[in-house]
Amino acid sequence: MMEAAAGRTRGAAELWFSCIRTHRTNTWWDEHLTEDNASFLKKVVTEEYKQQTTDKLNPLKDEPWPRHEWVEGSRRVGLVAVKLGMMPVWTKSGERHVVTMLQVQDCHVVKHLSKEEYEGHTAALIVGGKNVSPFHRPEGYLEVFRNAGVPPKQKLTTFCVSDNAIIKPGTPLYAAHFRPGQYVDVTAKTIGKGFQGVMKRWGFKGQPASHGQTKTHRRPGSLGPGGDPAKVFKGKKMPGRMGNIYDTTHGLKVWRVNTKYNILYVNGSVPGHRNCLVKVRDSILPTRLENNKNPPFPTFFADGDEEIPEDLYDQDMFQFGEPMAE
C-alpha cells in the first residue's frame, strides 16, 4: 500500500489525540538509500527534467491549440518570475530611474480551467515557475505536473484569461511575452516585519520627542471620536503583524527585456525579498491600456519565424555608447 510521504500538521483541537503512540509511517526520501543511490536518483531527476523541457520546446509538434489575434478587451496570461535585484537606468534626457530585474526561470503553463470549472465568468490558466526537486513535495502536488508533462514547480498561480488567449498546458513562457514600453502589475508576498507599531505599520505621526512628553513618543494617541459612538470602530488601525502578505504594485513600466537570460527590467520597486517568486501580468490601470496594445498574443512562441534581438530597449531609455543629446 502506498503511504503518504509528508506528515500532516495537526490543529489545536487534535492535541488531545497527539499523546496516542502510533506507528511512524513517513520518511525522508533517502532514509534507506546509499549515497551512490541517492546521487544516482538526483542525476536521473535532472535528466528527466531536461528531457521534459526539450520535449515541450517545440509546441508546433504536439498538436498546439489554435492561436488567435489580439482583440481590444482580451486578457492574456502572465508570467512567474524571480526577483533578482535592482539597478539604475537613465533616460535619453538624463533622468535617472531605478529598475527591478525579474528573471523568468522555467515558466510553463500547467493547467487549463474552462469557464465552467473556474467560476463561470472567465477561463483560467495555471502557470508554474522555477523547477523544484520532487523529493520534498507531497504526491498530490506532483500529480498536476505529471499530467502536463512538466517538471514540478515551486510556485503556481492562476491567471484569469479570455477565451481567445488560452494556451495548451506544457507550453513554455518566456520574458519576450512582455515588450519594452508595456505596463505591468507585479504581485508578490511582502517581506514579513513581525509585530510592528503603529508608526511603521500605518505611518502615524507619533508624538514629539521632548517638551514634556511622558512616555509617549510612538503611540497611536486617540482611538476615535469619544462619547457619541462610545466605541472604537472596527478596522481601527492599530499595532499588529505586518508584512508576509500578498501585495500588488500597479502600473510598472517595462524598460528593457533580455531574451537570452529571460530578464525583465521593470520600473521602481516590487514587493518581496531577493530571489522570491513574483506574479507578473498586464496592467489593469485604465490610463495604461494604451501602452499595452498589440502584445505578443496569446504569448511569445520561441519556434516562430520572427527573429528578435538579444536585448530589447524602450525608446526613451539611454543605451551606453549612444551620442547624448545636449
Partner: protein
Amino acid sequence: MNECKCVAGLASSAAAACLSSAELRSHRSALFSKEQVRQRSLYPRTEKIEVMLQGPGLQGTLLVMNRGLSTPYSCTRHLTEWHVKSSALALVDGQPWHMHQPLIHSCDLTLLTFKDDDPQIANQAYWRSCAALLGHVLDEAFKDEFSVELLKLPEVPVTAGAFCCDLVLDSRLDSWTPTEVRTASSQTLLTFEERAAQSQNGTVSLYRCGDHVTVSGGPLVARTGLCSQYEVTSVHKVGECEWGVLRRAQGLSLPLNLTAHHNVWKMLRKRAERLVRNVFVCDNSVKQVKARHCRQKHCFNALVSF
C-alpha cells in the same frame, strides 16, 4: 505412501477442474493441515535439543528447545520483541531455514533481518515470498467460475526489478487484458507455515498462507506483515503452452523497515512493469540485467557483489 498421495493430490489439481477455485483451496488447506498433524506426531515424546545463537550481541547464548516442535520463531520469543518483529529468516548451520519450520536437531541459529550488512539471503527469500503472495492474490482475484492455474514461481534475482508468477487462465479469459492492475493485498498478518513433505524425488516444501498453499524452491519470509508496500505492476502474455495462454504477472514490493518515498517507488514501479526475461542466478547474465536504470535500496544492492 500416504505422503506421496498427499503431494500427488495437490499437484494434480488440473484434473479436478470440475471443482471451483474456492473448493480447491479449502481442499488443499485441509490436506496441508492433515500433513501438519502427521508430521507433528513423528515426535510423540518431547526431546530436548540445544540451540546456540550466533549473531551480533547474541554470541554464545544457549537455548534449550523441543525437538520437532520449536521453531526459530519460538527462539526469538525467548529474546526480545524487537527480535520477534524484525527477524525475517533464520540460518540453521548456514542453511536458510524458514522461521516457522521446526528444528529437528541441535544446531547453530542465526537470525537474519533486512538491515544486516549482507542481506542477500533475506532479500531473495523476501522476493520469493512476494511471488508466492502474488500467486495467492491472483488466485483470489478472479470469480469462482474461472479457473486459475498457477504454474510456477520462477526464481528471479532481486536485481531483475520485479518478482513474477507464471499462470494460465481459463480459456474463456483468453482475450482478457488487465485494464487496471492495482494492488489487492490485505494487511492482515498471515503467517507462512511450512511443512516438508516426503515424495519420491526428495523433500518438497509446502507453504501455507491463510487459505492458500504453494510450493516454493526456498524458504519464505516469516509473515506478510513484513511487506509495507506491495503492488502488482503488470501482466504480460508470454506464450502458449498445453493448458492455454501462458501469462506472467509481475509485482513489486518493499519490506516494512525500508519504506520508499513515493517518487522513488514510482521509479521502481516503472521498471517493474517491464517484462522480466528468464534470468538465472549466475554472474554473467545478471551483469547484463544490472547494466541500466533504477537500482534499488542498499539492502537490495546485490550489484556490489558482482
